[in-house]
């Protein structure tokens, strides 16, 4: 056994469950003073959850956390901050109307003996702090006028000013320009030299090689390996990250692919995606891969009329259509199972019946008067077919597990008899059993001639289910693979290429 004093932070066999689903399983992690330790894994591998366990936002269901060799329990982020741990998330949390110096010392302003804020001291200390970090910022600038990179610097300065010894940076470079990234790395190296320990999360492998000392890889919530970065090749890293043999969990049958059901040409929506073109055929499952935020959901919403596109054309069965609302989309035989079940897929406080019948409610009514028996029997048959597990039809949707909720959303959309089905993260956050059921259903629907567009951040799912794969990055389609061509490495590479490397 190692001497615990060796590490500033040590996690041992951390397990975390959300409503029965294990999202972290026996994860161990160690961090030394004066190192940059990269945390690597696919979307949903458990990186963010692990970070939240470290900062006390989540409490682990099993395992221990040691800080400087002593076991600790953080009940909330305040505790961890007191212990010298600071996290800088993708969403920055500065007060937009306070200036740089005020933001650094917010809540801890130096005061005069009379209890008033000692402004002179505040600016002097902010000045000293920033220059010790080698950062040049106008102290009186309001945070809302700072660039993302500058805001990050302020957050880092704030963390240093509370004597944080452990800094966690969650995808800090995702929205920075190359020059800004260089500035950030200079700062991180400086902090490392001064003995800080840094946990660095990024999807860009090149950056990790440039900056990090060691890397820990997570996969499906489980610990894979920890290696010094100079001993592991890029290909090996990708293999560690995704290297799971694809089981027959994904039963996509070979289906005779029919004529084009949906064609999208040069589709754009200002600010979210540009020049997206693809074809989707009957009986085909088209996978759409990419990182979270690559614009895939926006494309789906645009096609479905929730956020109509600002440019480009959409053709359904060869006819150009202009869909500006989901009502129209449903009329054209489109159905969209959204990514966010709670917010967009379901009405959680209402009954299973009301949820399933919602899109087709008019067809269970005569001149607007609801025909209860017709609605009930139709919904019952659909719930039966989807094997929804609940005590009865009048249970509220929010009382069900994630998997059963997803079955209800699927039942609801299948009752519209769609010809084109868009599934956005169809198996996110649901148990393995339901996941297999959803995959079997997709395969069956494709065999019936339904055209399916599947957005998924889970690579094995994309590879297992798709006939063809599109990859999106930063609002554009960056690659297009046939089932035979597609590999996890190729998809990851197309989804994560550093800005400017392509085009």
């Amino acid at each position: 056994m190692k001497i615990p004093d060796d590490y500033i932070l040590e996690l041992k066999k951390i397990t975390k469950r959300f409503s029965g689903v294990e999202v972290l399983h026996d994860v161990s992690f160690t961090l030394r003073s004066g190192e940059v330790h990269a945390l690597l894994g696919e979307n949903g591998a458990g990186k963010s959850t692990l970070v939240k366990v470290i900062t006390g936002l989540h409490q682990p269901d099993g395992g221990e956390v040691y800080l400087n060799g002593k076991p600790v329990h953080f009940a909330n982020p305040h505790d961890s901050r007191q212990a010298g741990i600071a996290a800088i998330y993708q969403e920055l949390s500065l007060f937009p109307d306070l200036d740089v110096a005020e933001n650094i010392f917010v809540g801890r302003q130096p005061t005069t003996t009379a209890g008033r804020v000692d402004w002179r001291k505040l600016y002097a200390e902010a000045e000293r702090l920033l220059s010790s970090l080698g950062v040049h910022l106008d102290l009186k600038q309001k945070a809302r006028h700072l660039s993302i990179a500058q805001q990050q610097m302020v957050e880092i300065a704030r963390a240093i000013s509370i004597n944080a010894r452990i800094l966690i940076m969650d995808e800090p470079t995702s929205s920075l320009t190359l020059n800004e990234v260089a500035d950030l790395f200079r700062l991180v190296r400086r902090l490392r030299q001064e003995g800080a320990a840094i946990i660095f999360i990024s999807h860009r492998l090149e950056e990790l090689y440039e900056l990090a000392d060691r890397v820990t890889v997570l996969r499906d919530g489980a610990y894979v390996d920890t290696r010094p970065l100079n001993e592991v090749s890029r290909d090996e890293l990708i293999r560690l990250m995704v290297g799971r043999t694809i089981s027959n969990l994904f039963p996509k049958q070979e289906v005779e692919v029919g004529e084009v059901a949906l064609k999208v040409e040069h589709l754009s929506r200002a600010g979210s995606f540009h020049d997206v073109s693809f074809e989707l055929r009957k009986g085909e499952i088209l996978g759409m891969a990419g990182l979270v935020g690559a614009g895939r959901t926006n494309v789906a919403r645009a096609i479905f009329g929730v956020e109509p596109p600002t440019g480009g054309q959409v053709f359904i069965a060869g006819q150009e259509v202009h869909i500006t609302s989901p009502q129209q989309a449903i009329g054209y035989g489109l159905a969209y199972v959204p990514e966010d079940r709670q917010a967009h897929g379901l009405i959680p406080p209402m009954t299973i019946t009301a949820n399933i019948s919602l899109p087709m409610l008019e067809s269970y009514a005569r001149r607007g008067w609801l025909q209860d028996a017709l609605e009930r029997s139709t919904v019952f048959a659909a719930a039966r077919q989807m094997e929804v597990r609940a005590s009865h039809l009048w249970q509220r949707a929010r009382e069900l597990s994630g998997g059963n909720q997803q079955k209800i959303v699927l039942a609801k959309w299948l009752l519209t008899r769609p010809r084109i089905l868009i599934l956005d993260e169809p198996t996110r956050g649901i148990d393995v059993g339901t996941k297999a059921a959803v995959h079997a259903l997709m395969s069956k629907l494709a065999a019936e001639g339904i055209a399916i567009l599947m957005i998924s951040s889970e690579l094995p799912e994309v590879l297992g289910m798709s006939d063809r794969v599109l990859v999106m990055r930063e609002g554009r389609i960056t690659a297009h693979f046939s089932r035979a061509e597609a590999t996890q490495e190729k998809i990851i590479s197309a989804a994560t290429q550093a800005v400017g490397a392509l085009s």
Binding site: A329, H344, I347, M350, L370, A383, E387, H392
Partner: protein
Amino acid sequence: MKQTPLAPAETQVTNLINEFAPRRSFLARFQRWEWMLVGLIVLVVLLNTQLSPYFLDALNLSRTSSDFMEMGLMMLPMVFIIITGNIDLSVASNLGMCASLMGWLFMQGVNIWVAAFAALLLGTLAGFFNGLLAARMKLPALVVTLGTYAFYRGVAYVLLGDQAARDYPEAFTYLGQGRLPGTLIPFSVALFIVLAAAFGLVLHRTTFGRYLYGIGNNENACIYSGVPVSRIKLIIFTLSGFMAALAGLILAARFGSTRPDIGNGLELSVITAAVLGGVDINGGVGSMVGACLSLLLIGLMRFGMGLLNIQGQVQGVVIGLLLILSILLPNGLVQLSGVKRLDRRSILAVLVVVILFALFFGFFFWSRAPVLIGG
């Protein structure tokens, strides 16, 4: 007891889902807010018959019932609006504007029925305008109708200034003062009952009503499911405008005159009645029966207190306390039943409920004390 016949092939999956909910126990079925209101109504009736011999007088009840019908007419669409999670603060001002337009036109020599029709049209348009801003422009209904609350009342003053329109023909005042032939039932009460039944059926038996609950519980999910959310909102605000105008005609007919401040402040009574009736101010929950029961309760309480010469302002205090209690009491009970060990919060909640209860009854009896003692 099997409620659905199963095909042989399906028998191995019997534990999946049942078509029917299990019957609820006798007691459980009484755990509804509507029954609580029924209990309160019975209590108020019993108390009042003890306190005043005039309470159960048929003629008195007939007279007083029409006092609450304008409120009731505006409450019907308000229930729709609150269930969708919106609010219409402009109803009483709209009522005032429409009644004033009618009065002004009548004074210009226009036929009263033509003037009344113009008022209904104006009210509907005013409601449509609220709907346009709230539904199509997606502005918050609270702000939109707060604006038109001031705007519509202002128009009423512009139309009538400091004068009052009066001397309406008897055929018109029948709307507010008349009774159904051969009975003691006021015309306005009959109209309210018919409309309440219609609104109730729409809310609980049609697709439109289902959409209202859907919007109130999760507007986004409704949009994603193809529900015409903004058209539905436009319809209910327009309906609210029409009903406000109708209420304006009836109020003007009951008074026999119109002043520009007619119906001032009524919007809050309307909202109070709906919320006391169990319509959740956050949307998604409520029933028409509950709202109508609550209107009846408020009416009976005000009538009873009026008989005992309790001032209107004092009546307001009592109704206000009742409203707060109606929200606190169920929450307090839920908190109590879920509490395993007494923490400071639950003790505080119980204390607040007890104090409010004491205040409510204390005030109720104190304000009646002179009557009780004096006989």
